[in-house]
Amino acid sequence: MTNKNGRFGIHGGQYIPETLMNAVIELEEAYNYYKNDPDFNRELEELLNEYGGRPSRLYYAEKMTKDLGGAKIYLKREDLNHTGAHKINNVLGQALLAKKMGKTRLIAETGAGQHGVATATAAALMGMECVVYMGEEDTKRQALNVYRMRLLGSQVIPVTTGTATLKDAVSEAMREWTSRMDDTHYCLGSVMGPHPFPTIVRDFQAVISKEIKAQMLEKEGRLPDAVIACVGGGSNAIGTFYNFIEDEEVALIGCEAAGRGIDTFETAATVNTGSIGIFHGMKSYFCQDKYGQIAPVYSISAGLDYPGIGPEHAHLHDIGRAQYVPVTDDEAVEAFEYLARTEGIIPAIESAHAVAHAMKLAPTMDKDKIIVITISGRGDKDCAAIARYRGEDIHE
């Protein structure tokens, strides 16, 4: 009786301790029930719209388009959501689901802090207790977000094990969940981990491509030629891709954090430099050595600084439906500054990876082609770090 659920090609699965198995089975059953429940969906839609600020704008970046001189560029403005990133889409869904399941406490991992802030926000709104695990290194890089989470009533636990970054925060949140499942839901922030998380998170983020499609048909009367998003675990990317997977004429492009370059060890470009493995509950691509030891990855972006990628992305790569390109720190920082200067929009450094690739791609395309870039989050949180990258000594 092998569970074939939760596989994307060979990827995915449920590689987790036995202790957690009934918890993920319970979650899957609850999700399968509520996803078809009209009341649940009405409640979630109201939360997303009235509280989260959806639908997010699809903005025609006219100056950028003219400056690059090629394809027409639209920006999907997830940065305008409440809490400043796409993470709220998934969190409102999972928090509502957890509440329906009778859970009173949320735990979460966070890298840049956006998912942690979103979870802390939902917990505050729904009157739930919240504990966020964050790599100690990231608590320093993203001190402002640590303060925001505490302000929202959450406890932030710095994780000191391993590389003290996102992967260690995931490990620690999983360990905590193993010790307390009866009242606690693990609100996983990306399309990763054991089944059913990659499916649940994808479904909650798919609102991004659902809106892009409708907005694009309204504005241009046709589908875009390419949609571009940054990929760490891959939640905003899968949200951006999902409703276009069947539309073969739409190119799906994920931008991985190459750090100092894919020919160096200081990279987090999983598809470009990794190999298939089993970690954090899933089979997928991971940065690892030949003995399967997970590599200490690096990126300027705390949100993309993860050694794996969601299993559905791994499958989209395997079948050639989506393309995963590396973008370096330097290129991302330039794109961060470019978008600020050109359109008056400061993107998250994560999203700047997608902007950077679009800057390379757009000039190679005809003017009647259309690109959509998902701006997954806003860049306020990154200003101090980018200033330091440019040699200015600014501290929050």
Partner: protein, 257 residues
């Protein structure tokens, strides 16, 4: 018949765990010999993994120390081969799925058979994913050990019926590490397991004292101890074999009383 059954033949068993290569493989070898000489019935050898998500801080530390010394899976196989010159009790590996997957499951299990490893325990390979390695395990006479947890409930019978070697019954929620008290109703879980299989049962997670070991082995067939041994390694480093041997004797005597 599985060689692992020898460890349980008509007696209560004591199963110590050690992370290979912490602080070096010479120490591991000396400790394994000391364990075998002092009444261990079966030894669990941990192959270090960078991100051991089922381990508490003590065993995490051992994994990191071993890896920072450059210990590889191949080094561990070589060490077992040397130990098998004189250590005859059953030995199993405890590691994570990725260590085997990246080595190549066929190559890994073939080497297990060649060097004399009798089973593998993989805390991140639940029943639903066992087919990942089950066939190559069987083909090489390596028992894929099943784990049952306090939360397994309706899954106990299903897991027990297909269990090989011994069943690793997890005593408590959470990760590995010593606990002052174990509150799970293990008797009720053991009862359901016994109704479904004759495969022996070892209880692990949180056990450190002779009293706990005696009680757990009394409830089941064996007590498994890891973190308490790693703490001795942490304290005594390269000189840990003697205190670990003495500790194993106390625990094994308590279990077999």
């Amino acid at each position: 018949m599985s060689k692992i059954y020898q460890a349980f033949a008509n007696k209560k068993a004591f199963i110590p765990f050690i992370t290979c290569g912490d602080p070096n493989l010479e120490t591991t070898k000396a400790c394994v010999r000391a364990m075998a000489a002092n009444g261990a019935s079966l030894i669990e050898l941990g192959i270090p993994f960078s991100d051991p998500t089922a381990e508490g801080s003590v065993i995490q530390g051992a994994n990191i120390r071993a890896l920072s010394n450059g210990i590889t899976t191949d080094d561990v196989f070589t060490m077992v081969e040397e130990l098998r010159a004189d250590v005859t009790i059953p030995m199993v590996f405890m590691t994570y799925a990725n260590v085997i997957f990246s080595y190549g499951p066929e190559a890994f299990m073939a080497r297990c058979k060649a060097v004399g490893i009798d089973g593998v325990i993989l805390p991140d390979l639940p029943y639903e994913e066992r087919e990942e390695f089950l066939d190559v395990c069987s083909a090489n006479d390596v028992d894929l050990i099943s784990m049952i947890a306090p939360t397994s409930e309706n899954r106990i019978a299903m897991i027990a019926r297909e269990a090989k070697g011994f069943i690793y019954l997890v005593s408590s929620l959470g990760v590995t590490g010593t606990r002052s008290e174990i509150t799970t109703d293990l008797g009720a879980i053991v009862k359901v397991i016994r109704e479904n299989t004759d495969t022996p049962i070892g209880i692990g997670f949180g056990i450190s004292t002779p009293e706990q070991a005696k009680k757990m082995a009394g409830l089941a067939d064996a007590a498994i101890v890891g973190s308490a041994i790693i703490k001795l390694l942490e304290k005594h480093g390269k000189d840990a074999a003697k205190p670990i041997g003495a500790y194993v004797k106390t625990m094994a005597d308590a279990v077999k009383e």
